[in-house]
Amino acid sequence: MELSKSAKENAQTLKNMFGGSFDLITREFSVNGKTAETVSLDGMTDEMKITESILKPLTDDKNFSKLYSTALQIKDSAFKGTGITEEKDLFAIAEAVSDGNLALFIDGLENAFVFSVQGYPRKSIDEPQSEQNERGSCESFTDNYKDNVTLLRRRLRTPRLVFERMEIGETSRTSVLLCYLSDRTDRELLKKIQKRLEKTGIDTLPGSGYLKPFLDGRSPSLFSAAGFTERPDMLASKLAEGRVGIIVDGSPFALIAPYLFIDYFHSLDDYMSGSLYAAFIRLLRVSCFIVSTALPGLFAAACVFHPEVLPSNIMLDVAAAEAKTPFSLTFEAVAIHLIYEIVREAGLRMPVAIGHAVSIVGALVVGDAAVTAGFIAAPMLMVVALTAISSAVISKLHESVALIRFALIIIGGLTGFFGIFVCIGLLIADVCSVSPFGVPFSAPLSPFVKNAQADAVIKCDNKILAKKTQSLRELRF
């Protein structure tokens, strides 16, 4: 939509486009003898900047000379320290105003000026909520993508760190940044990711997690090929391996693509600790994954079909406890895990003020009263507790683990170890079948890549790792 020669008319058109929204502010004043109008959104712009850097210089006739055109003088001399562009299209100007810019219309000029004066409220840099580390940095990403860019730049001070901006969402027009190291990331990988993001066709983008299924593409797997992180240090280390980061404006969680299965068991603390301890902890995490996924199912299967596996004393205690309860062991297992999921969900959704009440209800009612009342057997509760704690160790995999766990409980209760291991076979095949962005999801374990084993399940000394360049290229097709 072309601009008219009248500043007032342009301002009115813009006002109409915003539907008379109360937060749209227009100011009329005179610039070099001509009528000028500014349009901006209250709350999205920095008022001080507007006043000091734009209005004051504009309204001061000393800044202007009759010899030169007003437009030229505005562009070249009047404003310093503020980004300024010229725009002809009213729709583009409207979008720019939505982004927190200030639009300036001057009578008689063909173009409008758009000034970058964003000043919307920003959350301060906080500690990561979901990825705690013992010895790592205490900074986490924020909702503002520009702050996130700064956090990343501070960790990778190289000109090869590139941020490519794109907009996703017809209505929301959310800024999405693809960040990568130009000398490490494969162009094909980047193109694939760009293509998948461009094809989303969504209307609004509520957060970064929304993009995960689009990045997974057509691969039908329980596990996502894109991981997420709240930590700039984590993202920086992944970028150094040749991966691509995706920062979404409005979300403190950045996505990492591709994300391999083994990455779910890694933490930055591993690199801050001794290699032996790190190796031990990684093996512990793998064990926790197995426990949280398979233990309830195996327990149900053992009790119903294969009691010989249980040590005598445990079997007797379990049998005695189960004799008291009215429900079958499989039903108990499903019920108690459902209750655990309910408590977990409640913990996430409820207001902080009533958090204590829910904890008490969860612990006392579920933990104690249910056993005393004879609804649930104590051994089953022990199994659930162990499962829950193990599940917390690999919280990133919680969604997949929860689903698999329920499936294994039902299958174990119906068919015993046979059914469980058929499912495990399918799971292993599922993990091994996916190759997101040309990298096998199960790499570097299967296919076995010798060079990458130094930092796969176990972690070698940092001195050894420093000599190796951990690169995605070794794992790619």
């Binding site: 119903v304 079997m315 007797l316 049998a319 004799a323 209760g413 119906l414 068919t415 015993g416």
Partner: protein, 376 residues
Amino acid sequence: MKKTACLTLFLIFLLSGCSAKGAELSRRLVIEAIGIDKKEEGYALTLQTLDTHSAGTGSDASAGDNLVKIYVFEGESVGEALSGITEATGLLPLFSQTRIIVLGKACAETDIFAALDFFLREYNIRSDILIAAAQNDAGEIVSTDLGDSVPDAVILEDSINYGEENGLCVSMPLYKFINYALSETDAAFCPVVSLRDAENPQKKEPHITGTAFFKNKSLSFILDDKETRGLLFLTDAIKKASFTIEGNEGKYTLEAVSSKTKIKTKKTSNGFVFRIDVKLECDVSEFVCAGFTGLDEKRTKDAKEAGTRFVKELITNSFSRLYGTEHIDVCRFYRRALLKDPKSADEFREKTFDEWFAGAEIGVELTIRRTGKENG
């Protein structure tokens, strides 16, 4: 397509479950010990079981008294007797926790394979379940209340295991029992169990009284405690042992810390020559003599010589009983010879037992390791 596949899989899972025949633990009868007695018209099986159902509703679930229940079933065969369990109790039998099978005297004197065949085929039974022979009735052993806080079968099993650890009796798991029973020249054997009064006059305690040998599928003879000790040396089954011996200088109590029996096989023109070498390391745990005196070099040497004589006598007596009198190849000379020279297998069948085995040499080397903290 994916949803259809998942649904199909899930339906198959459900259907499979219907035929899989699982059962909750509370619906199982946990059998801890089985006593088999031969009756005129078949067998009587005494089962020591753990009634988890009652324990679940009782106040103290871990008390052995509350848990143990005795059942007796009769039938023409062992399998027929056991098939009545579900009908009588409403529970499915669980054999995986069975610790011991006790063969009654009458049963042991008839065909033991007939009694044990069911347990060889039952998938749930542990292959290393203990076999024991009762001095009289197996039912009496299995049904007697032996302890307060643990199931009685555990006490029985522990007694045998403890006895084996300390060189007092043999411990015979099922698979080894069958192994020996199937051997051409060997014979199966197992400990003999009886009951005696315990400290608590209302309780009894298990007493292992020798070793029962089975030839031609039935009980043949029983070794006493001393002969059993010799047997343990011959089969290299001594881990620890304690014996009191009379030496020239006084009475010594020796604790065997380690024992190793090596059997050497040598082929000669006349046949095979076997040599049994026993190496024993002992500590002197006690020395008693007139007057309080320590162990000097002379007395240590005396202890060593007395110990060597004692052990050699034990072994020689057992060897002559087993090989000379009963013709049991307990040291497996036949198999050793077969491995040394497979062609000699046919020659074995032409010669008599005495011609092959009776003349083995026995050597004992006893070393005194420690004499205690008192300086002699």
